[in-house]
C-alpha cells in the first residue's frame, strides 16, 4: 500500500559565539576535559546565569534568515530533568515564548517547509564511558544552542535532506555556526509518521534522535518509512517512541528510554529577567545580514550570467563565494574566475569540509591578477590553470611563474625592451644594418622570437628596431 510521509525536523545548532550562553567561559571545541568551566556552567551552588546578548543576536539572525517573525518580548524557562551531564538538573531553555516563530525554507521545487519556532538554550556536558567508568566533561555545558523546529511539511526522504542541507547552508552563510554535523555542532531529530493519501489526520509518529549527516537523514527517513509501512500493511499499529538510526545496518531501532515519561515541569527561570528587544535592534541585525545564499545563487545566474551548475558549486560555500566575489571586485571576469575556481582550485579539495574551509594560500587580489591576464588573452586558459596550481602550491603571486613564453601577446613596452636587449646583444648585426646590410636585422628578429617563443609581432618589432637603430 502507498502511504504519504509526514515528517518534521528538529535541529540543534551550536552557535559560534566566543563565550558560553550564561558565563564567560570559552565555547572552543576540544580542550582538556573540564578546563572550559566555571561555577556557573558546572551548576555550583549559589551561582547565577547571565544571558549572553550575542546569543540573542545570533538567534535573531537565524530567525530573520529563515523568514521568521521575531518576538521582541521573550523569557527563559527551566526544563527540569535529571541526567548526569546536566549539572543544574535543569536546562535553561525557552518554552512558551520562543525568540522566533513562523518562518520557512523554500525548496528548489518552490515548496515551502514551515519553521514553527526557533529558541535559544544551553547545551549539556558530555559523558565519556571508559574502562567501566563514566566520566563527565562539562566543557560543552553552557555552549549556546538554537533549536529550529520545522512544521511537519516534509513529505519525502529527498525533501528531508534538502531541508537540512539548505538550513545548514543558510546558517553557515550568516556566520552563526559552522554546522559540522560530525562534530555535533548541528544535530537533527526527525519526527515521522505515515498516513493514507487524502487522510487529514496524522498517524502515530516516532522520533529518530541525533542524526549526524545529511545522507543519514535521507536514509533514516526511508528506513523508518519502510518500517512503519510494513507495520501498517500487516495491520499493526506504530508505537510512539524514540528511535535511533544505525548507519552500519541502515536500520532504525527503538532507543532505551532515559525516563519513563517526560514531564519537564517548565517554568520561567526566576534568575533571568524577561527581556525585550527593540525593533531598532532587529532592523539593525537585519541590515547586518549578508546576502542570503539563495539570493546569491539567483544573482549569479541571472545577473552574472553563470551557468546554474557552476553557480551552485560556488554559492554554497561561504568562503568560496567571498573569494569569487573578491576576485570580481578586483576586476576579474566572471567566467574565467568561476571556471578557475571550480576547475583548478576545487581539484585540490576532495571533501565538502575542505571546500567549506577553503584554505587557499593566495589572496583574491592575487588570483584576480592572474584571471585578468587570461581575460585580456595575454595567456591562454591552459597556461593560467598551470600557473594557478603553482600559486596554490607556493602561495606566491602569478608574476613569479609567468615566463615570457607563456605570453600570448607581448605589450609594446615589453616588445620595446626586448628590442633594446636584442640590440645590446647583437652589436655586430646592428653595425651591419647601419652599414646597409638590411638582412642583418634578422639576427635581432631571431633573438626576439626565441625569447618570446615566437609570439612577438614581427612587424611591430621591425618598426621599433628601425627607430632604435636610427634608420
Amino acid at each position: 500500500m502507498n502511504y504519504e510521509i509526514v515528517c518534521g525536523i528538529e535541529t540543534h545548532i551550536e552557535l559560534a559565539t566566543k563565550t558560553k550562553i550564561f558565563c564567560g567561559c570559552t565555547t572552543e571545541f576540544g580542550g582538556e576535559p573540564n578546563t572550559h568551566c566555571c561555577p556557573v556552567c558546572t551548576g555550583q551552588p549559589g551561582s547565577l546565569p547571565i544571558l549572553n546578548q550575542k546569543v540573542v543576536e545570533y538567534a535573531i539572525k537565524a530567525g530573520l534568515a529563515l523568514n521568521c517573525k521575531i518576538n521582541t518580548k521573550s523569557h527563559m524557562d527551566r526544563k527540569n530533568y535529571v541526567y548526569p551531564d546536566l549539572p543544574k538538573a535543569y536546562q535553561i531553555s525557552q518554552y512558551d515564548e520562543p525568540l522566533c516563530e513562523k518562518g520557512y525554507i523554500e525548496l528548489d521545487s518552490g515548496k515551502r517547509i514551515g519553521i514553527t519556532r526557533i529558541h535559544i538554550e544551553e547545551d549539556a556536558g558530555k559523558l565519556i564511558h571508559e574502562n567501566g567508568y563514566t566520566y563527565i566533561d562539562y566543557n560543552r555545558s553552557g555552549v549556546p544552542l538554537i533549536e529550529i523546529v520545522s512544521e511537519p511539511d516534509i513529505s519525502s526522504a529527498e525533501e528531508a535532506r534538502e531541508y537540512a542541507e539548505k538550513l545548514q547552508l543558510i546558517m553557515r552563510h550568516i556566520g552563526i555556526s559552522d554546522c559540522k554535523m560530525q562534530e555535533g555542532s548541528m544535530r537533527c531529530d526527525v519526527n515521522l509518521s505515515l498516513r493514507k493519501p487524502g487522510d487529514t489526520h496524522f498517524g502515530v509518529r516516532t522520533e529518530i534522535k541525533n542524526i549526524n549527516s545529511l545522507t543519514f537523514i535521507q536514509k533514516a527517513v526511508m528506513a523508518e518509512a519502510e518500517r512503519q509501512a510494513d507495520i501498517l500493511d500487516a495491520g499493526g499499529t506504530v508505537v510512539q517512541q524514540t528511535m535511533r538510526y544505525d548507519e552500519q545496518t541502515n536500520s532504525v531501532a527503538p532507543m532505551r528510554d532515559k525516563e519513563n515519561s517526560d514531564d519537564y515541569r517548565y517554568f520561567p527561570d526566576p534568575d533571568i529577567l524577561r527581556f525585550s528587544i527593540d525593533d531598532g535592534k532587529v532592523e539593525e541585525i537585519r541590515a547586518s545580514l549578508p546576502e542570503l545564499p539563495f539570493d546569491k545563487l539567483k544573482r549569479y545566474v541571472n545577473v552574472l550570467g553563470l551557468p546554474e551548475a557552476t553557480a551552485r558549486q560556488i554559492f554554497k560555500y561561504r568562503k568560496v563565494a567571498e573569494f569569487f566575489e573578491g576576485a570580481l571586485a578586483e576586476g576579474a571576469g566572471v567566467k574565467n574566475t568561476a571556471n578557475l575556481i571550480v576547475g583548478t582550485i576545487f581539484s585540490n579539495m576532495d571533501t565538502e569540509e575542505e571546500k567549506e574551509l577553503f584554505a587557499v594560500r593566495i589572496s583574491a587580489a592575487q588570483f584576480a591578477a592572474l584571471v585578468k591576464l587570461a581575460d585580456e588573452k595575454k595567456i591562454n586558459i591552459g597556461v593560467a590553470q598551470g600557473i594557478l596550481q603553482k600559486m596554490l602550491d607556493s602561495g606566491k603571486p602569478a608574476e613569479e611563474f609567468i615566463k615570457p613564453e607563456d605570453l600570448v601577446g607581448i605589450s609594446d613596452e615589453q616588445l620595446e625592451s626586448l628590442c633594446r636587449e636584442a640590440i645590446d646583444a647583437n652589436q655586430r648585426a646592428v653595425d651591419d644594418v647601419r652599414n646597409g646590410k638590411e638582412k642583418a636585422i634578422n639576427v635581432m628578429f631571431g633573438y626576439i622570437m626565441k625569447k618570446t617563443g615566437g609570439k612577438a609581432d614581427i612587424r611591430k618589432a621591425e618598426d621599433i628596431l628601425r627607430k632604435l637603430i636610427g634608420l
Binding site: Q44, P45, G46, S47, I50, P87, A89, F267
Partner: protein, 486 residues
C-alpha cells in the same frame, strides 16, 4: 550598654583595642557559649585572626572602611571561598566553594573579620532552625525556646554577642522572624538591592540577603556596605540610594503616613497585638499620620508563597545529586540508584516535603491550577501593595503572630508552622523591604518584634522609622546577660 559598630570603629581607630584583640575576645566568648547555644556550625578562627591582622594594617589608614576589623558571621548558605558552606544539610557536608558570594567579597574588601558560619534551617526551609542537620540553635534569651528561623544561628549570635553583626537570608521571613524571636534587629532589603550571587538558592524570586544587628544604626551601616548591583546577578539593581543610609537616620516622624492593615492582625497573639498598637500610638503622638488600610489579597499570601517557593526550590535543589560535590551514598548499583540514595540520605524531611510539593505544583496537569495561579495572585498582591504605598510611606505590622516556640514544640505539624509565616511572606512576594525591631516582651519575657514595611528601594524610610522608634521607646526588652561584654 553594648557598643554599636560606630563605637567599635572609633575604639579600633583610637587604638583602645586592636582588631586582633577584639577578635580574640569574641573567640573566647564563642568558645564559652557556643557549645550550648549552637549558633555557629563552622568556626573559622584561623582565617579570622589573619583577617584581623590585615584589618589592623588597614586601620592605620584613617580612611579605613567603617566595618574594618569588626568581627561578624555569615549564614551557612552564603558561599565563602575555601571555607565550609553547607546550608546545614547533610547533602552538602564538607562542601567548600571555590568562590565568594558577592556580599562576602564586598565585606572582605572592607576588612571584615569572619568568625564562622551560622546555624540555620536546612536550605533555609523552616521557621525554627530545628531542621538543621547540626541540631537547633538555642534562643539565648531562654534556652528552652527556639531562635526562630531560618536564620536562627545568625539571630542567636547577634543576641548573645557572639558576633557584632551577621548576615542572614530571607525568603519568607527568615531574617525578620528570628530577629523578632531573639530580640534583635533584622532587615530584609528590597528584592534586587543586594546581589544574590553566591547565596545558595531556595526560592530564587524571593531570596534576599540582609543584616541582623543589635541596633537599627548597625543594620543601616551593614546594608550600606552590602547593597548595590552586581553584573553576576541579573536580578540585582544598581539603585542610586544617594548618600549613606546610616548617616540619614535622624528624622522625626511628623507627617509620616503609616498604614495599618487589619489583615496583618488576624489571629495574632493579643499580647503582640497590643504591643504593636502601643508602638503605633507612639508614632501618632509624635506627629505621624495613621491610615487604616486594607490588603484583601494578604490572606492568599501563604498558599502563594508555599507554591512559588517550593516550585523554585524543587528545581534549585535538583543539582544535589552526589556527582560533583557534597554527600554521595556509599554503595549503589547504577547512576540512577546513586542519585536516588544520595538524595534520600542527604535531605531532611522538611526539604523533601518542599521538593515534593514544588514538583507537584509544577507537574503537567497541575501547573495552571497551582503555580500559574499563584503567579497571578502574586501580581494582585503586588498591585495591592503598590496602591497602599500611594497613600502610605510605611506599613506597620507584627513580625510574627507569636513569640518563640518552645524547642520541639511544633516540629510535628508542618502546616501550623507554615501559618506562623503569615506576617512576613507578603513582603517577599511583593519584593518590598521590611525591618523587624524589638518592641517589647510577652509574659514569659520572650521578645516581640515589630515589622516596618516600605516601598521598593525605600529602605531609607523604614530605617528612619525604626530608628526613631528604637530611640523613643527606650528599653523595650531585657538585655541578654553575658556575651562578649563589649
Amino acid at each position: 550598654m553594648r557598643a554599636g559598630i560606630p563605637e567599635l570603629a572609633k575604639r579600633l581607630r583610637n587604638r583602645e583595642i586592636s582588631a586582633v584583640e577584639l577578635t580574640k575576645a569574641y573567640i573566647d566568648v564563642i568558645e564559652k557559649l557556643n557549645p550550648t547555644l549552637n549558633a555557629y556550625v563552622h568556626l573559622t578562627y584561623d582565617t579570622a585572626l589573619k583577617a584581623a591582622e590585615q584589618a589592623d594594617q588597614m586601620l592605620k589608614d584613617d580612611d579605613a572602611p567603617m566595618l574594618c576589623g569588626i568581627p561578624m558571621a555569615l549564614k551557612d548558605n552564603i558561599c565563602t571561598d575555601g571555607l565550609p558552606t553547607t546550608c546545614c544539610s547533610k547533602i552538602l557536608k564538607g562542601f567548600m566553594p571555590y568562590y565568594d558570594a558577592a556580599v562576602w567579597e564586598k565585606l572582605k574588601k572592607q576588612g571584615a573579620v569572619l568568625l564562622g558560619k551560622t546555624n540555620m534551617d536546612e536550605f533555609a526551609m523552616g521557621s525554627t532552625s530545628e531542621t538543621s542537620c547540626y541540631g537547633a540553635p538555642l534562643n539565648p534569651r531562654n534556652t528552652d525556646y527556639v531562635t526562630g528561623g531560618s536564620s536562627g544561628g545568625s539571630a542567636a549570635a547577634v543576641c548573645a554577642n557572639l558576633a557584632v553583626y551577621t548576615l542572614g537570608s530571607d525568603t519568607g521571613g527568615s531574617i525578620r522572624q528570628p530577629a523578632s524571636f531573639c530580640g534583635v534587629v533584622g532587615l530584609k532589603p528590597t528584592y534586587g538591592a543586594v546581589s544574590r550571587y553566591g547565596l545558595i538558592a531556595y526560592g530564587s524570586s524571593l531570596d534576599q540577603i540582609g543584616p541582623l544587628t543589635n541596633s537599627v544604626k548597625d543594620a543601616a551601616i551593614v546594608f550600606d556596605a552590602i547593597k548595590g548591583g552586581d553584573k553576576r546577578d541579573q536580578t540585582s539593581v544598581d539603585y542610586d540610594y544617594g548618600s549613606s543610609l546610616a548617616e540619614c537616620l535622624d528624622r522625626d516622624v511628623k507627617g509620616m503616613r503609616i498604614g495599618v492593615a487589619e489583615e496583618f492582625f488576624d489571629g495574632i497573639n493579643p499580647e503582640i497585638k497590643s504591643r504593636i498598637e502601643e508602638a503605633v500610638k507612639l508614632f501618632e503622638r509624635n506627629g505621624a499620620v495613621i491610615e487604616s488600610i486594607r490588603l484583601p489579597a494578604l490572606k492568599l499570601s501563604l498558599p502563594v508563597y508555599y507554591i512559588i517557593a517550593c516550585a523554585e526550590a524543587s528545581s534549585n535543589l535538583g543539582r544535589y545529586d552526589g556527582i560533583r560535590y557534597g554527600h554521595r551514598t556509599s554503595s549503589y548499583a547504577s547512576i540512577d540508584d546513586m542519585i536516588v540514595k544520595t538524595r534520600g540520605e542527604g535531605f531532611g524531611d522538611e526539604v523533601k516535603r518542599r521538593i515534593m510539593l514544588g514538583t507537584y505544583v509544577l507537574s503537567s496537569g497541575y501547573y495552571y491550577a497551582y503555580y500559574k495561579k499563584a503567579c497571578l495572585i502574586r501580581d494582585e498582591i503586588n498591585r495591592e501593595f503598590d496602591a497602599v504605598f500611594e497613600k502610605c510611606d510605611v506599613l506597620i505590622a507584627p513580625t510574627a503572630p507569636n513569640t518563640a516556640f518552645p524547642l520541639n514544640y511544633k516540629s510535628a505539624s508542618p502546616v501550623e508552622m507554615y501559618l506562623s509565616d503569615i506576617c512576613t511572606v507578603p513582603v517577599n512576594i511583593a519584593g518590598v523591604p521590611a525591618i523587624s525591631v524589638p518592641c517589647g516582651e510577652d509574659n514569659k519575657g520572650l521578645p516581640i518584634g515589630m515589622q516596618i514595611i516600605g516601598r521598593r528601594f525605600d529602605e531609607a524610610t523604614i530605617l528612619q522609622a525604626a530608628h526613631f522608634y528604637e530611640q523613643s521607646a527606650g528599653k523595650v526588652t531585657g538585655a541578654y546577660e553575658g556575651g562578649a561584654g563589649i
